[in-house]
Structures are given as C-alpha cells and as structure tokens.
Amino acid sequence: MYTEKVMDHFSNPRNVGEVENANGVGEVGNASCGDIMRISLQVEDNVIKDVKFKTFGCGAAIATSSMVTELAIGKTIDEALVLTNQAVAEALDGLPAAKMHCSNLAADALHEAIKDYRDQNS
C-alpha cells in the first residue's frame, strides 16, 4: 500500500513534537476527517531554523508531516511557501490514490505556520 519511504517516515518520524519558543504555529484538518496536523516553527532572519510536527492521522498523514519538516528546515520562508502537498507526496515516492487528498495536508500546515509567523511579526 505505502512506499518504503512512507513507511520509513511513518515508523521513524523526524521532528516530532512542539518547537520551544515557536514563533509560528499552524494547524489544519479536523477530527471528523481523521487528520489533524500541527506544525510549529522557529524562524530567524526569514529562515526556518527549527520545525516540528504533531499529527493525529493515518500513516500517510504522519509520513507527510515528517517529510514536510525535513523539506522545510533550513529553507527561507519564501522557499517554504512554494512547497506543495504534491511535492511532499513525490518526495515520499508517491501515496496511494485514496490518500492523495485526505491525508496529504502537511504543506498546508506548514504554510499556516508561516502565515502565523508573519501575522505575529508584521
């Protein structure tokens, strides 16, 4: 069902948790749908210095969350903003068709966190 990369990120998720002194937090999804993704950030000089996730959801939801933190870290927020859900899925060598929409919202969560950072710092 899942690619090896998905299973790797699912079983050994990177960057789980909550960034201490986060200056941006985003959350998408809801319990009815069975997926909630929460991303917290530490941004310095427009660069994402630290990023962590907490996710309630299926294997795909956890793996995409983990992957998005790996992709985002060290990027400028402008670079991070062009990261798409599609790109996250591709970085995982793809997701099952049924999971492409429902559980692939990690980039959205990242964008929400960046928006939150911008809202706080403007």
């Binding site: 319990a31 997926d35 309630f56 959801g57 429902c102």
Partner: protein, 407 residues
C-alpha cells in the same frame, strides 16, 4: 517475526481439513453437477452432503439451503428478492443503523425505488429497543432485517425475541448471520427466522462461497437470473469446491463450537481485561456484558490517536487487527456502527477490533498486552490532541469536500 492474526471477523484462514476436502473437486471431480454424464453425476452427491451439513448447523432442512457466492450476495438476494416479491403487499422495511453495508446499502438502494426504510437506532452499548422495533411495524411492513451479531462490536442481538415479534405481526424476518454462525448457536427454526445468510470465509471455508437459509414456502424473487441451478433460485454453475468446503466448515463448526469458543472466550476476556486495566483513556465499544457479545470479539477505542496508524504499528510487530477508522476502511466516514452508538468522532477513529479464533494462543495475547501500551503511548506522544488545552477542531466543510473527492 511471529505473525499474530486477530482479525478473524474480517476473514479466516481456510481450515486444512476443509482445503483437503475441496482439493479433489478442482482437477478430478470437476464436472458440472447439472450434467447427465459421469463428470456431472460424480459431484452431485458432494453438493447434497454439503447442503445437509449446512442445514444441520442452522437447524433447517437441506431443501431450505441455497448456495451463493458470498454473504453480501445473500443479503442483497434476501432483501431485494423480498421487496420485489412482496411489493404488492407493502413497501416498508425495518432494519437497524448498525447493519453491514450489504444490508444498509441495499436498503438505501430500495429507498430510491420507493420503499420506505426504518433504520432503528441503537443505544450507547449498541443495543436495540425491541419496543421501538415493534412500534415501527405498520400494515405496510414486509420485512424486518436485523443481524444476528455485529461484525465490529460483536454485539449479539435478541434474534429469538425479534422472531417472536415478527411472527406475531406476520412480517418476514431476515437475519445476517455471517458473524454469528459458527461462534454461537444459530438455530433458525427456534428463532423463527425466515431467511438467514452465512459466508464461508468467516468460518474456515474459502472466500467466494456463501449460503442462505430460505424457509420453505417463502416467496422471493430471483436476484441472479439465468440457469435453473438451485431449483431456479440462483443461476450460475455450482461452485463445487466452495460448496464442499462450506459444508465441511459447517460440520466442523458444529462439532467444535463449544470447545473452541470456550477457549477463545477465555483468551478474549484476558485481552479485554488486560487492555482496559493497563491503558488509560480506553473505551470499550459494544455491550459491557461480555455474554452479549460474540466470544471472540473485542472492540476498544484508544483516545487521541487514529486507527490506521495504530494498525500499522501493530503490523510492524506482526499483529493483525482492524480499525473503524475511515482511513483504514476505504469509506468516507469512520465506522457507521460507532456513529450509531454515539461514540465521539475521535474515539471512533481509534476504534480497534481484535477478533480471535481457536488458532490464537495465550502467549500471543501476552505479547499483544506487552506491546500495545508502548504503541499507544508513542502515537499519543505524536498527537496534537493528547494533553491538549484548546478544544479539538471537529468539523470542516472544506476538508470534508476534499475527502469526498478522494474516493
């Protein structure tokens, strides 16, 4: 890694004796039982025997057994066939909100054709109010369809009492006995049932074979039109090996039910008590009185986490179980059974079913009890809902739309 299979309500392994009984009917005794010649005639007896074996388990006569391809087909046939045959008499059907999709979606399809369906609610334990059932009967009611036991919770419904009500009001009574049969006694005569459906792959026979008990004299329209097989009741060349397998599985089930399910019940009770006492924020789904549940079924919700990821972590330890989460079932919503019982949506997403068989061992249960708390904790530590201050975000129309699009 040791494999621990605790998903027997989803499907069972074929019993070795059953496979062995089937084997001659693939390449050697391969005839079409409708044929006059040796190849056909040499298999006819095997079908008769199997019909007797099924009849004995259900306590009906062999002539009341119809072989078909699966439980879903039986439910479709029973309900649509009744609706069509009795449509002059009435257009009202009574069923429950916790039926298998093979019943629920069939009823929903009939609603589009002008039938009216009452979906009886269940209480928080998943049980029916029989007074409500009886009150729902009108002079247009042509069918009551209530499952013998629920696949997700294992809840056993009071089929004997419902049979009495149906008899009193002269309404036909169908029961989906797919999960009950072989695990608890299913006596269609005693229960006053008119139609009962079973499926091979839930009791150690192969996939692709099922049977329906149809009480003598019950008028029903065809579902599968075509040849004259099964006395014009089900077209299609007989699945001889499947029928032979189902027959033997029924015989074995009858023979071993007491012994096997006393054993299974002990294992299940141990698992149940172990989970409920060792893991916090756990909810039992189904009736708290274990006597009112199938002896092999345990359904629990682990708060704050989602079922599919739980199953995947189980899987990494070789443990096979199932979940009511939408993500794991391929449906749009978490289990309609959990919904009907009023289980909170987060808990519904984490509902996990362990369904045991006599193949399971005590050391398997011990292993599960050892691994489970660690897995649950690990997922909780990852969850934004665990030890959360603000309220859980519940509904989101946009997301729901996205979700619908993904099927």
């Amino acid at each position: 890694m040791e494999k621990i299979y605790m998903d027997n309500n989803a499907t069972t392994a074929v019993k070795p004796a059953v496979l062995e009984a089937m084997l001659p009917y693939f390449c050697e005794q391969f005839g079409n039982p409708s044929s006059v010649h040796w190849a056909g005639q040499m298999v006819g007896g095997a079908i008769d025997t199997a019909r007797e074996q099924v009849a004995k388990l259900l306590n009906c006569s062999a002539a009341e057994v119809i072989f078909l391809s699966c439980g879903s087909e039986g439910d479709n046939h029973a309900i649509k066939g009744t609706a069509e045959a009795l449509k002059e008499k009435g257009n009202h059907i009574i069923t429950t909100t916790v039926e298998h999709p093979a019943v629920l979606e069939t009823c929903e399809a009939l609603e589009k054709d002008g039938f009216e369906v009452t979906y009886l609610k269940v209480d928080q334990d998943g049980m029916l109010d029989l007074a409500e059932l009886e009150a729902a009967i009108t002079d247009k009611t042509i069918l009551i369809s209530v499952m013998w036991a629920n696949n997700e919770t294992g809840n056993i419904y009071p089929i004997d009492e419902i049979g009495q009500i149906a008899k009193k009001h002269k309404v036909r009574f169908h029961t989906d006995a797919v999960q009950a049969v072989g695990k608890v006694p299913v006596d269609v005569r005693k229960a006053n049932v008119d139609m009962a459906v079973i499926s091979g792959h839930k009791i150690g026979a192969p996939k692709g074979i099922g049977a329906m008990y149809l009480r003598r004299g019950t008028r029903i329209s065809r579902f599968m039109h075509g040849g004259h097989q099964e006395r014009f009741r089900r077209a299609g060349t007989h699945n001889v090996p499947g029928i032979v397998g189902l027959g033997l599985a029924c015989e074995l089930a009858l023979e071993n039910m007491d012994k096997d399910y006393t054993y299974v019940r002990n294992l299940r009770d141990k698992l149940e008590q172990g989970i409920l006492s060792n893991i916090p924020d756990v909810k039992l789904n189904g009736h708290p009185n274990a006597d009112l549940r199938l002896p092999n079924t345990l359904n629990v919700s682990f708060d704050f986490i989602e079922g599919e990821s739980l199953l995947l972590f189980f899987d990494m330890k070789g443990i096979a179980a199932s979940s009511g989460s939408a993500c794991s079932s391929g449906s749009l919503e978490p289990s309609h059974v959990m919904g009907a019982m009023g289980v909170d949506v987060v808990l519904a997403h984490s509902s996990t079913r362990f369904s045991l068989s006599a193949e399971n061992t005590e050391s398997e249960v011990d292993f599960v009890l050892e691994e489970l708390p660690k897995i649950v904790q690990r997922l909780r530590d990852m969850s934004p809902l665990y030890q959360r201050a603000d309220p859980t975000p519940l509904s989101c129309d946009e997301c729901r739309m996205v979700q619908k699009a993904c099927v």
